[in-house]
């Protein structure tokens, strides 16, 4: 057991830190378009220095980093408060899916423009009637010669208005059992048959979109992993979502907790003391310090289990669910510390508090994640 970084890992981190120190592009500009161009520029800069797709094999333009290095990469970017890259989904999910299930031609075609942010990716999985029950999706794809004609509706699609490619799961065989009749396509977003509508959230922002698809065309060669094999390919995409994001999420909690402690130090509570000196607040802050440490440790223990056994250990399944609870309590404590200011939306914690409500829903609801843990990790009988 060695919970420090190895020499090689330390060197990797130091190189990245010093590069980030010199190349951090500063704050994102206001405005959707400006922010997007800024993120694209930032990704190009990372790519130019070999910091895009760090975990991808070298032959496809990646850096061939180890699991731990990849974790360090995700942690350091958050720690440096670096901006988002433009092509988050392409890098974290689309690329790895193409690497795992694509043909050699597809890899050559799609991977380079992902890295360079030339082609942005979005994800078309969820539908209004298929949230947790993804396999019940209704978007239909019908073959017409060497083309497919696709109609349906998708929801919770981020970055859709900038995207060139959509990872689209559609039903190609309505007669097959529901997990069997699905196919995974890359749909060109630049066609009139695809209509993007921003979906405003309770925070007032529109981070997500709805996608209305009316007879869009997709050539046969844009299928990933073969016709009827969409479920397995989609699972690959989702696995990459959860594992890659975990390290960024836990560092995000650590940073937010640091800010919260500062917030508590500067906020008057009652009886002439500041909130950080209040015994009840201190108990809650200490619990958050413990839980955020657990997020970090469980994430790394998960990596060690993969390195040892090739498969994730039980800690791996718990991360996203646990993170959502920790982040929600963190923002709830922030509101309690703010006191009467919690009633005002000017407080940045109010936004974070509202945004955190979705944490236990987005990327797999807590209910579904608990089912998965119960059935696949503990081996309990399938819920009926």
């Amino acid at each position: 057991m060695d919970l420090t970084l190895s020499q090689a890992e330390e060197a990797f981190r130091d190189e990245l830190r010093s590069w980030l120190g010199e190349n951090h592009p500063g704050h994102e500009p206001a405005g959707d378009e400006a922010a997007f161009e800024f993120r694209r520029e930032w990704q190009r800069k990372l790519h130019g220095a070999g910091w895009a797709g760090v975990s991808w094999p070298k032959e496809y333009g990646g850096r061939g980093a180890t699991l731990v290095e990849q974790a360090i990469f995700n942690e350091e970017l958050v720690r440096a408060r670096a901006p988002q890259v433009a092509n988050v989904l392409g890098l974290a999910m689309g690329g790895p899916t193409v690497i795992a299930h694509g043909t050699e031609e597809q890899r050559k075609r799609y991977l380079p423009p992902i890295l360079s942010a030339q082609e942005i990716w979005c994800q078309g999985f969820s539908e209004p009637d298929s949230g947790s029950d993804l396999a019940s999706l209704k978007t239909r794809a019908v073959r017409h010669g060497d083309q497919w004609v696709v109609s349906g509706q998708k929801v919770w699609t981020t970055f859709a208005h900038h995207a060139k490619w959509c990872m689209l799961v559609a039903r190609t065989d309505p007669d097959a059992p529901k997990h069997k009749g699905l196919t995974y396509f890359l749909m060109d977003m630049e066609q009139d048959a695809v209509h993007v509508r921003p979906l405003r959230q309770i925070t007032g922002e529109a981070e997500f979109n709805e996608l209305f698809i009316e007879e869009a065309r997709i050539p046969d060669e844009n299928i990933i992993g073969g016709e009827g094999n969409g479920w397995a390919v989609a699972i690959t995409t989702l696995m990459h979502e959860r594992s890659t994001l975990a390290f960024g999420l836990q560092v995000g909690v650590q940073i937010a907790l640091g800010e919260l402690i500062e917030h508590a130090r500067q906020t008057r509570a009652q009886d002439g003391i500041v909130a950080s000196d209040d015994p009840v607040v201190r108990q809650r802050l200490a619990q958050l310090l413990i839980e955020s440490e657990i997020l970090r440790l469980n994430a790394y223990r998960g990596l060690s289990a993969i390195m040892r056994g090739g498969v994730p250990g039980p800690e791996g399944s718990l991360g996203k669910w646990h993170w959502s609870e920790v982040n929600q309590s963190l923002t709830e404590l922030a509101m309690d510390i703010a006191g009467p200011y919690a009633m005002s939306a000017e407080d940045r914690w109010t936004y974070r508090f509202l945004r955190a409500r979705a944490n236990s829903i987005e990327g797999g609801t807590t209910e579904i994640l608990k089912n998965i843990v119960a059935e696949r990790v503990l081996g309990l009988p399938r819920m009926r």
């Binding site: 947790s132 959230q201 008057r268 009467p340 005002s344 939306a345 508090f353 829903i361 609801t365 819920m383």
Partner: protein, 359 residues
């Protein structure tokens, strides 16, 4: 021993439910949330016709002269409908004036308040002064106030302000005065408009020094707010239960999964418990003053937590759709959470309960 309402109280509840559901449909609430002022004169006159601004104003002053139970009945229904309205801030002012106004002040203001001809509101929190809703450091100097008060509801549409000051009194300040700056603040709960009020030596008249009656008035205020949260939570629970019956995943209604159905059962426990405490506190305000402060703090503490937990839990039942602006649920969650922080949060009121119970 009987928890049942009187026939009159039942009638008020029924009228309120029918009136509010007809006038404050979800789309109306949504429009008012987006509106700067937050209500129309027409809507105000309708409330005036029902006599609600004068619900607790004595009949001698033209009010309905009703008690805290009727107050709670009305605000539970206001919460259920999530009706945006200055009624709450106006009733706060009426409660304090009735409790500690001088005879002239009561004579001058209570009648017009009851008749809806003018509206008041209440400025409690100093800027950056901590959690306590009963501590102010504003020192009135020669009948003039210099202070910044935050989270003042409906200040832009009120005719006068009651300002809490360090000497445990309130000061009445007529608005429209050039030394008073009223700044609109984006509020968490857009169905209740909040303002920062900056007083730069504004002239104001002190109300009487009457700590007992003032504490009683605040107890009525927090009980009404707790009742609002009961209504809000009831409605969110009904939405969640309906959704759990309708929404299917994996070929069955999600309400047939215990993760959802037990969550809904928990909502019921919390809603009914908060309701019991509110009714008890209201009854004590009317009939058992020695219990009233403790009962009111219990109601406010519990309903603050329950309001947030139930609406938040309802959002989880709804999944993604509950996180969209298009769905009405978020307005309920935001009201419940804002109410939780108004006039002392759960933690603050639990401290009061412990003190009042002589722990």
């Amino acid at each position: 021993m009987n928890f049942d309402f009187t026939d009159d109280q039942h009638a008020i509840k029924r009228t309120a439910r029918e009136f509010l559901s007809a006038r404050y449909k979800p789309e109306t609430v949504r429009e008012l949330a987006a509106d700067e002022r937050g209500f129309t004169d027409q809507q105000w006159s309708e409330l005036v016709q029902l006599g609600w601004p004068g619900v607790i104003v004595p009949e001698a002053h033209g009010g309905l002269g009703l008690g805290a139970v009727e107050l709670v009945v009305i605000f539970e229904e206001m919460g259920y409908a999530l009706a945006p309205s200055p009624l709450f801030s106006d009733v706060c002012a009426a409660l304090l004036l009735a409790a500690s106004g001088t005879d002239e002040q009561r004579e001058r203001w209570l009648g017009p308040l009851a008749a809806g001809e003018c509206r008041g509101t209440l400025a409690v929190w100093d800027e950056h002064a901590g959690w306590a809703p009963d501590r102010s450091e504003v020192e009135p100097a020669g009948g003039a106030l210099a202070a910044t008060k935050i989270a003042v509801p409906d200040a832009a549409t009120a005719d006068f302000l009651l300002v809490a000051a360090a000497d445990s009194r309130h000061y009445l300040l007529e608005l429209g005065n050039s030394s008073t700056e009223i700044l609109s603040v984006p509020s968490l709960d857009q169905t209740r408009k909040l303002y920062t009020v900056k007083l730069a030596g504004a002239p104001a008249q002190p109300l009487a020094h009457a700590p007992g009656p003032v504490r009683h008035a605040y107890a009525a205020i927090i009980t009404a707010l707790a009742a609002e949260n009961v209504g809000v939570a009831q409605r969110a629970m009904e939405m969640a239960v309906q959704y759990a019956k309708d929404r299917k995943q994996f070929d069955r209604p999600i309400g047939s999964y215990q993760a959802v159905s037990h969550r809904c059962a928990q909502m019921l426990l919390e809603v009914e418990s908060a309701r019991s405490l509110c009714y008890w506190a209201a009854w004590a305000l009317d009939h058992q003053p020695e219990t009233a402060l403790r009962a009111a703090s219990m109601a406010k503490a519990y309903a603050s937590d329950a309001g947030f937990r139930v609406t938040s839990s309802a959002l989880q039942v709804h999944g993604g759709i509950g996180f969209t602006w298009e769905h009405d649920l978020h307005f309920f969650l935001k009201r419940a959470k804002a109410n939780a922080h108004a006039f002392g949060d759960a933690r603050w009121h639990r401290d009061r309960v412990a003190a009042l119970a002589e722990v």
